[in-house]
């Protein structure tokens, strides 16, 4: 083995260690963040960032691993939010309402998936927009949830921001763990095969329809739980907030920014989006969507792999420079 290849092999080991160490360190750091006493506003931003990460990672299971870009994830977010809200107001423990929110969202994903997964590519994407808008209109006119006026959650307990923060962090961590389990399982291998070539996948024994429905359900369940956690924090939800088309776009944008079809890209994208979204919305209330649009165009044109692709490119450049600097004696 030449020193060059030794260096590359050592680089491979380091990369493997980093792959697990960095997220663990990051997660531990996020766990200790509140101890630094950042103040209510910064904690709120971090809480919302955790939720962004949860939804981003969830979308990636369907849009990234399976290659089925859905523009309708606000449906699951909204249904999760309303399920939790109704449960909490009905006296159910909030922590029990989250699995219920996940369940309702998963059920909805099956109802939506059964007809829409008969479509492919852009037709599927368009169908999800249609379903999403239809659900929003129905919710706007549904009397028992307050219709367009929205729905208020009344809890007889004091507001504890840290509890919300840790719930959000746990949800984000759960989403990442589920995403990893999916990615490295037989199920995940089948999803990747579908993403690459659906005909070839079916000709290898993969059932594309059932696999897509299952991926949709897992992603919807996580998104629904995220919506539930958000609803309890916000204490007030409305169809124009949780079911908004912008919400669907945001959920899809985060993994694209970070890098679709990877484990950590959506985490990175959700993190970046969560942190800057508040600031951008406050500073440019009219233009922040335009900025995101421009960002997506730039990413698709120059780095379809998103931030992860960019990091990979930089890593290869550094490795090449260092291996190149080695001279035989």
């Amino acid at each position: 083995m030449t020193p060059g290849t030794q260096f590359a092999a050592a680089g491979g080991v380091v990369a493997r260690v980093l792959r697990f160490a960095v997220p663990l360190i990051l997660l531990s750091a996020l766990g200790f963040v509140p101890l630094a006493d950042l103040g209510a506003n910064a904690t709120k931003v971090l809480f919302l960032t955790c939720l962004s990460i949860g939804a981003s990672v969830a979308w990636n299971i369907l849009g990234g691993f399976t290659g089925q870009p859905s523009f309708g994830f606000a449906v699951f977010y909204g249904l999760g939010a309303y399920t939790s809200a109704l449960c909490i107001n009905g006296g159910v423990n909030p922590y029990l309402s989250y699995p219920l929110a996940a369940g309702i969202a998963a059920l909805a994903s099956l109802l939506i998936g059964l007809p829409t997964f008969r479509l492919r590519g852009p037709y599927f994407a368009i169908a999800t927009i249609g379903v999403s808008e239809a659900v929003r209109v129905v919710m706007t006119n549904l009397a028992f949830t307050g219709g367009a006026s929205g729905y208020r959650i009344t809890e007889q307990v004091p507001f504890r921001q840290l509890e919300h923060y840790y719930t959000g962090l746990a949800l984000a961590a759960l989403a990442v763990v589920i995403s990893m389990l999916v990615r490295y399982s037989r199920f995940g291998l089948g999803l990747r095969a579908i993403r690459d070539d659906q005909e070839a996948a079916a000709d290898s024994g993969v059932n594309p329809y059932v696999s897509k429905l299952a991926a949709h359900a897992v992603a919807a369940a996580l998104t629904g739980a995220t919506g539930g956690v958000y609803a309890r924090y916000a204490a007030f939800i409305s169809p124009d907030g949780v079911f908004a088309f912008q919400r669907s776009v945001a959920i899809l944008l985060m993994p694209i920014i970070g890098g679709v079809n990877t484990i950590w890209g959506p985490v990175l994208g959700g993190g970046v989006y969560g942190v800057i979204e508040e600031e951008l919305t406050a500073r440019f209330p009219e233009f922040h969507l335009l900025l995101y649009g421009a960002l997506v165009i730039l990413i698709i044109l120059f780095e379809p792999g998103g931030l992860m692709g960019l990091l990979g490119r930089m890593r290869r450049l550094v490795l090449r420079l260092r291996v190149g600097s080695w001279q035989p004696s």
């Binding site: 095969a193 690459d196 070539d197 079916a202 000709d203 290898s204 024994g205 594309p208």
Partner: protein
């Protein structure tokens, strides 16, 4: 030998155009059957129908005594039928090893049935060695040249452990030596007990490997029989190169 596959009056219409019109024949277990015919004869359509990628408009297909007419392709794979494609379809984001793993983990003897064959990586290695691309196991499938892609497609199909293998022009675009080695491989696969239906334009390849040949023309079965006989059959010659002009 018993028939492993029986086609009875299989037809396929595309908006009134008959791509296949009442095709019937039998494939006996353990044979290599050549399926030949001029361009547009319906060979690939027939393949897609047997493999479940398309449903026939009418007719019946029986495989190992079971009616499999119109079953979906993944069910056909689980029943023991696997196909390759004329234009190879590798899983482009995967390595060669992972491509084969898909066939192993979702094919006929996946899950509980694969127990006893050893760890999955050993099975992958065994199949890659059989088709002669073991050295490429960790390469990304997008980087492979045509010849190796054809072998990868064959490896992934074999990984599904089929009893009936459908090969669509596996020699197209290959050099003479590559073709000879693929044909040796087909004979080897046959010896291991797999029945093969082989679509090929190269008549030399068909003559040197097949025990039986079915000739299609304009969606109909023109003739069938031993390869030498088909080569001298006036109807087959006419379908391929036309009639002698009358003086």
């Amino acid at each position: 030998m018993a028939a492993i596959l029986t086609l009875e009056g299989v037809s396929k219409y595309f908006a009134g155009l008959a791509a296949l019109d009442g095709v019937s024949f039998e494939v006996r277990e353990g044979e290599i059957v050549g399926l030949i015919g001029p361009n547009g004869a319906g060979k690939t359509t027939l393949f897609s129908i047997i493999a479940g990628s398309q449903a026939p408009t009418s007719g019946k297909i029986t495989f190992q005594g079971r009616d499999i007419t119109g079953v979906k392709s993944f069910r056909a794979v689980h029943a023991g039928i696997a196909r390759t494609h004329q234009i190879t379809k590798p899983f482009r984001s995967m390595t060669v090893r992972e491509n084969v793993e898909v066939g192993l983990r979702f094919g006929r003897q996946s899950g509980a049935h694969s127990a006893g064959r050893g760890p999955i990586q050993n099975q992958v290695r065994e199949i890659l060695a059989l088709v002669g691309i073991e050295r490429l196991a960790d390469m990304s499938s997008v980087t492979l040249p045509v010849g190796d892609l054809k072998r990868l497609e064959l490896a992934r199909t074999l990984a599904a452990r089929p009893s009936l293998l459908l090969l669509d022009e596996v020699c197209a675009g290959l050099t003479e030596s590559e073709m000879a080695s693929i044909l040796d491989l087909l004979r080897d696969i046959q010896k291991r007990g797999t029945t093969i239906i082989y679509v090929e334009h190269n008549l030399r390849a068909i003559l040197s490997t097949c025990q039986h040949v079915v000739v299609l023309n304009f969606g109909k079965k023109l003739a069938e029989g031993p390869p030498q006989e088909m080569q001298n059959n006036p109807a087959v010659i006419e379908a391929y190169i036309g009639k002698k002009a009358e003086a």
